[in-house]
Amino acid sequence: MRIVTWLLVIAGLVLVGVGVAAAIGQASSGAQPWGNELSDNFTFVKALPFVLGFGVAVGLLMARTYGAKVRSDGAVRRWSPGTVFGHWVLTLGFVLALPTGMWQYLGGILDVNLPIPLYLFYRVHYIGASIVLFAVAAFVSYLSMTGDRSLLVPRGEWGRHLLGLAYELPPSLRGRYAKLLRIDLRQPRPPAGKFTFYEKVVEFPSWSIVLALITITGLIKAGRYVVPVPGFVLWLASTLHVAAMVIIVIKLLDHLRYTFPRWSLMGAITTTWMKERAPAVGHGAGERGSSAAGIAGGGDT
């Protein structure tokens, strides 16, 4: 079975190469009256089915690495190697697509031009977007193959998770949050599993929604020269694409703010392993506290 997966990945890679080369060949042949930006747009749109297909094939391979493991020293595998790979591919895509997308927006708002031609920003943006779409397709394929739902809040468990999240919030926010959602803080703090309540209630759902939003709106924007898109739909897609970009900028800052002090999370997303079951907040060589200590010493989030 593994050999079949590898063959699919290799076939996907070859098809991406052929598809992208054909799209670039057509765009640069001079047969079409396209400028640089339009040529890149067509190349991007035509390469997308190949990129998405390749992503699905790689997702199948990523799924082969799935499975709970415990090391002899007690460390648990928090992420599969496939997830770690997908996470860093997604990071690379954002590193390319986010600053270039931000400049396209801010350049228009500020009405300024850099010495670098704008089409080069678009080109890098399209490359970054292709990488993001590849990663999204790979993750969808991976999750459908493995059936992993460990980052989702199970049905009927929202009350427990919202209570758990309350205890992970800083004390200054906890009371207001509990009052808003009518959470009884006299109940004991529920134990967190492999993932914190913040990761399950806030991080994963919001990343999923914002990734879906930027993907769908980006596809509508990019496909407008291939498929007729009504003006209102295009305007809405453009507006939501920018909104999703700003939310991703904010989410990224929050993600780094959350993970940096929990160094074990940084280790887990690099090595796949985590020594302690719940991530502890700490700076420097010694950890400052644990999830449980968060109740007495302040919030964990």
Partner: protein, 75 residues
């Protein structure tokens, strides 16, 4: 490694503070009002405030990491 990551985080938060500055100042110029309208101005204002707020929070964590790393070094 932690120090390097903290420095990268600090650079990222400073870059985002720059973005927030452009968002906030653009929200109050007449050109944006004329070209984009009040909704875009409000979005820029809200976006700018949130980006600045989260950039400050990240910068604070990075500075904590840097000071903790310096304190844990042998004298």
């Amino acid at each position: 490694m932690r120090r390097f990551v903290a420095l990268l985080g600090l650079v990222w938060s400073l870059a985002n503070l720059g973005v927030a500055y452009f968002f906030l100042t653009s929200a109050f110029v007449a050109k944006t009002a004329a070209k984009e309208g009040i909704l875009a101005q409000l979005s820029l204002l809200l976006g700018g405030v949130l980006i600045a707020g989260f950039a400050v929070l990240l910068a604070r964590e990075c500075l904590r990491m840097l000071t903790a790393a310096a304190a844990s070094e042998p004298a």
